[in-house]
Symmetry: C2
Subunit: 266 residues, 2 copies
C-alpha cells in the first residue's frame, strides 16, 4: 500500500476539474489522475442503465492505474451509479452528494433547502435522501436544470439568455423561500455570481467541489495514506476525446494550465 | 438483391427523425431502420477522430441488418466521416450536405448563402466545398451554433432565450445580406419559425430533410430498387440509450408515434 499512489477523480467531462482544483489547493502533495468522459458528455440526460455502464468502465480504468482513492466528482454518476462503482472498488470511494448534503444541512437556518442538478441527478432523489439522512425535519425543493451544462460549456456565464433560463429554473425554489441552494453539478460553480444575484444575498450557495476536498483530506488523514513531503505532485488528465474548445473550457474549470493530457478510448 | 430490404438512416440522436419523416411521406412503401446514437449525442462538439470511430460502428451495425441504402442524416457525420462510411459500405450512401447544397444554390438569386450548423460541421468546411462545387461564384458565410441542439432538445423552440442566442448567431450572416440560409443540422427545422422571423421573409431557409428524401427517391428509381406495392412498411427505431424525455422529443421530430424501439449497445 504505497502512499504515493494517485487520487483518481472522475467526471462525465470537464466539470469535475473544479473538484481537482479544490484538491490541489487542499492537498498540495497528492498525485492526481483525472478521467473526463468528454466523448460521451453530457451524462445528466442519459438513462440510469447507460450511466451505470459508463461509470463501470471508468472505475475499471482508474483501478488499473493503481489509485489509492476514488472520487466521483460527477453528481450524476454519484446519484445513480455510486453502488456500482463501490462494488467494483477495493479502495475507498468518495462522492460529492454526501459531502454537499452535510454542508447544506449545516448552513441552513430556515431548514428549507433547494437543490439544482441535471435531470438524472434530480430524478434519482439522491440529494433528498442524503439531506434527510442528516436531518429529517428539513424541507427540500429540487429543480432539474438541463440547459445549464451546455450554457456553461459555451462560456455564457453571465449572458442574458442564461439569466432568463436561470430565473425560470429558480423561480419555484425561490417561491418556497429556500435559504440554502445546493449546486448539484460540477458545472454550476461557474454560474455562481449569476445564481447568487438571482437568489439574493440571503441564500447560501453550496459548492460541492470544496466540500469534496474537505472530506478527501479527512479520509486521507484518518487512513494514514497521505503522500507527505511530495513537493512535485504529478497531475495527469485523461479524456476520452479532445473536443471543440476543450483546452479553453477545461482550463477555465481547473483555474490553471493542464500539465499532461492523454486521450483514452474506453 | 431483394428490394424489400430496408433503407438504413442514421443520426447522432433524434434529429435525423426529421429525415425519416420526409422519407415516410416521399417513399411510403419503403421499410426503414433508423439508428440514433442517443447515448453519445451530441456529436457536433466532438473531435473528428471520435466522430469517425462512432460513425464506423453505426455503419457496421446497419450493414449487418442488410439495408439496401444508407442515409447519413446527421450533418456532422456527413461533414467529417462521409469517406469512412463510404469505404465501409457495399451499398449506396447518401448524405444530407450535397442535397442541401444543391438546393441552396438553386434557390439563391443574390448568390450569397449563409450556412449554420454544429461546430464540427462548420469547421469541416463541407458545406462551403459542396456549394462551390455547384457554383464557384457564390459567396458563403458560415456560423457555428453550438447551443441550438440543446435548446431544441429542451423544446425551447420559441423561448426568449433561444431568440436572444439565435439573433447573436445570425447577426454576422444577416450583415452579409444572405438571401438563403442552409439549416445544416437536423435539429434546426424545429427552429424554422423563429429563424424565419429573425432572418426576415426575403431569406429562404433550406431544410435538409426534404432535400434528402428527394435524392433518395431519385436514387431508388434509377437503381430500380423500389419496394413497390408494400402497403405495410416496417419501421424500426434503434437507439443506443432511452434518455430523459426521449419519447416526447423523438415523436416531435418524427411527427408521429414510434412503431418499435429497440435499444442497442454499440
Amino acid at each position: 500500500m504505497k502512499n504515493d499512489r494517485a487520487i483518481g477523480v472522475f467526471d462525465s467531462g470537464v466539470g469535475g476539474l473544479t473538484v481537482v482544483r479544490s484538491l490541489m489547493e487542499r492537498l498540495p502533495s497528492e498525485n492526481i489522475i483525472y478521467f473526463g468522459d468528454t466523448a460521451r458528455v453530457p451524462y445528466g440526460i442519459k438513462s440510469v442503465d447507460t450511466i451505470n455502464r459508463y461509470a463501470s468502465q471508468i472505475t475499471e480504468f482508474l483501478l488499473k492505474r493503481d489509485v489509492k482513492l476514488l472520487i466521483v466528482a460527477c453528481n450524476t454518476m454519484a446519484a445513480v451509479a455510486y453502488q456500482t462503482i463501490k462494488d467494483l472498488s477495493d479502495v475507498p470511494v468518495l462522492e460529492v452528494i454526501e459531502a454537499s448534503a452535510h454542508n447544506a444541512v449545516r448552513q441552513s437556518r430556515a431548514k428549507v433547502i433547494g437543490v439544482i442538478g441535471t435531470p438524472a441527478t434530480i430524478n434519482s432523489n439522491a440529494y433528498a435522501r442524503a439531506i434527510r439522512h442528516c436531518d429529517k425535519t428539513i424541507k427540500i425543493y429540487s429543480q432539474a436544470c438541463p440547459l445549464f451544462v451546455p450554457l456553461v460549456e459555451e462560456g455564457l456565464f453571465e449572458h442574458e439568455a442564461t439569466n432568463l433560463i436561470a430565473r425560470e429554473y429558480l423561480k419555484p425554489l425561490m417561491a418556497e423561500k429556500i435559504d440554502t441552494l445546493v449546486l448539484g453539478c460540477t458545472h454550476y460553480p461557474l454560474l455562481k455570481p449569476l445564481l447568487q444575484d438571482i437568489a439574493g444575498p440571503e441564500v447560501t450557495l453550496i459548492d460541492s467541489a470544496q466540500a469534496m476536498a474537505d472530506i478527501a483530506a479527512d479520509l486521507i488523514a484518518k487512513q494514514k495514506i497521505a503522500n507527505d513531503g511530495n513537493d512535485h505532485p504529478d497531475y495527469l488528465f485523461c479524456v476520452s476525446d479532445v473536443p471543440y474548445r476543450f483546452q479553453a473550457i477545461g482550463e477555465k474549470f481547473l483555474g490553471r494550465k493542464f500539465d499532461r493530457v492523454e486521450v483514452v478510448n474506453l
